[in-house]
Symmetry: C2
Subunit: 337 residues, 2 copies
């Protein structure tokens, strides 16, 4: 079969020869085009001056396409958000594909175009890449690794930097991504309004930094959800955190799915929802800025840092009782990102 | 089953909760320990001043263990070499694992320790990472992505920089990695002396740069082998390259396997063999330096840059004839890296 007319990815597309060069030029270079990528060296040549953030993520989400996104959008938003959460401008990304033999070229193009569209939201550029093809049954469609580097603009953000009396803010209603993947996997309700929160967070973070908001800690609540982030913060900063369940925004759809499947919305993954710890006197300003971004209209103060039980997160329930909100454990939802 | 006593990787190890934290701490953090990694932020905080190289590679080699290396050694050497080939000091690496459910924890530890051992050869450090677990049948054991960044020390090296009359040097006998993988896959001869050339090339590159060797182009001959590199150079620099088959070192074992399976040693992958283009008056000095490294004792001048057929590589055979050495095509050997 000539690869000129091939409609699926073949092993030869990963062989380092003519077919691979053609695939890379026709699909990746075309979608990600920029002067650094055009250089065609083995590594990208960049210039940095000062503190720089470096991060990596592999994406294995199933299904590859879901309400509100796909693996490509997720791969770009995920890595860009990791940089943004460190107060770093997402500048340069790598993209590395592991593709299962027989994967449709059209689906690959859709994923790559989705990546290119998501890159525009932060201005980050793909500057280097890699393509591997494995035989049928040795991968599940497509896996993507995106690593990223960017200039740190705000150097004070750290999991170890939470201070007594900081307020905890969540950027929007939680659990949407995990719920959207669950819905797609179970073949549930196309009529549902539920979509993943998958989004690039750099524009809002850039605005917060430009407005001189004093951010003590910031983290997107991906795998392990809100529970994982709050516990990591409490532990790393050796502070107590108290959150009020009634103040945590959860959509009706997510709440319904959680009830049906026995999940906690606090444990469900998000892919465009972040948590902030800021000093009390910054809280109002922070919320005002956040709420000008449409996906953060529901941004809310959900809790506070205290010195009550260092290392622990306490959840006040709507019924007046309280309990520890623990780090999630068990299988949760596999392959949500 | 409690993950305390689990002997295989479970889906919960990728869930973002307690089990994942424990796996990361017990295996990855222990082996890769350094102050940057210990920070536990989502991204590593680094400092750069000047030109920096950035590269990525995903590794899907099968089998995971082969004569002369394993996927872990390969992942470190491969990414370190990509940086080295740009004249960059390999400083900081990311490591991202995609692990198939049920993969033995002991094998994972072996791979991670092999990575840690290989890191020592260049001084590079793992500063960030990611762990995903996919259900049985959705991956083949372990895939590893390593991305890397490092300070560029020699800024003149480029695929576009070959000059008329440059000599082409190969660092050692070619085709060993591809042949070793083929051997492992076919279950051939444990008694054979053939091992992969898999190696970290930074020490020798550092020495060449420190000795002020004028390097015009440098590239490790991985997928697509010597043929791919020479053709890429000829095309990017718009020069002709002539290579002499009789001067290209090939071991008896590799030559024998090639004959048996119908491969060309020029097309076989290497993982610790590199090609240089240097001005004629630098050639002797370059060879002398290279040959002080034991894996480069066979370093040899194999050809020359000319203006005969720009963009083409001509191979002079030992029988007095000559032919174009083309970019490899077809399936070659899949999953050699």
């Amino acid at each position: 079969m000539s690869t000129n007319v091939s409609k699926t990815v073949q092993l030869s597309h990963g062989g380092g020869g003519k077919e691979m060069n053609r695939l890379i030029k026709d699909i990746f270079f075309k979608a990600f085009d920029n002067p650094i990528l055009r250089n065609e060296e083995d590594s990208a040549r960049l210039h940095f001056n000062g503190d720089t953030a470096f991060t990596t993520d592999s994406f294995t989400v199933a299904p590859l396409f879901f309400a509100g996104g796909d693996i490509g959008k997720l791969a770009i938003a995920g890595t860009v958000n990791d940089l943004a959460m460190m107060g770093a401008e997402p500048q340069f990304l790598s993209s590395s594909f592991i593709i299962e033999e027989g994967f449709p070229i059209d689906s690959l193009k859709t994923i790559v175009l989705s990546m290119a569209a998501e890159l525009k939201k932060s201005g980050a550029r793909i500057v280097c890449g890699d393509t591997k093809v494995v035989p049928r049954g040795c991968a599940d469609g497509v896996f993507i690794n995106t690593s990223g580097v960017g200039r740190i603009i705000n150097n004070g953000i750290s999991v170890k930097n939470l201070k007594h009396d900081d307020v905890i803010i969540v950027s929007r209603d939680i659990g949407r991504h995990g719920a959207a993947i669950l819905m797609a996997r179970e073949g549930l309700a196309v009529e549902s309004e539920l979509t993943s929160d998958c989004a690039t967070l750099w524009p809002i973070v850039e605005q917060l930094i430009a407005s001189n908001v004093e951010i003590h800690a910031m983290r997107d609540a991906t795998r392990g959800g809100l529970s994982a982030v709050l516990n990591e913060w409490a532990s790393a900063s050796q502070v107590g955190i108290t959150a009020n369940e009634s103040e945590i925004p959860v959509s009706q759809e997510v709440a319904g799915l959680c009830e049906l499947y026995g999940f906690e919305p606090f444990d469900l993954a998000n892919e465009g929802t972040f948590i902030l710890a800021v000093p009390q006197d910054c809280a109002e300003k922070t919320l005002q800025i956040m709420q000008t971004f449409c996906h953060c209209e529901q941004a809310a103060i959900i809790g506070k840092v205290n010195d009550f039980k260092p290392g622990k997160v306490i959840l006040n329930t709507p019924w007046g009782s309280s309990r520890f909100l623990d780090v999630p454990q068990g299988e949760l939802l596999p392959r949500i990102c």
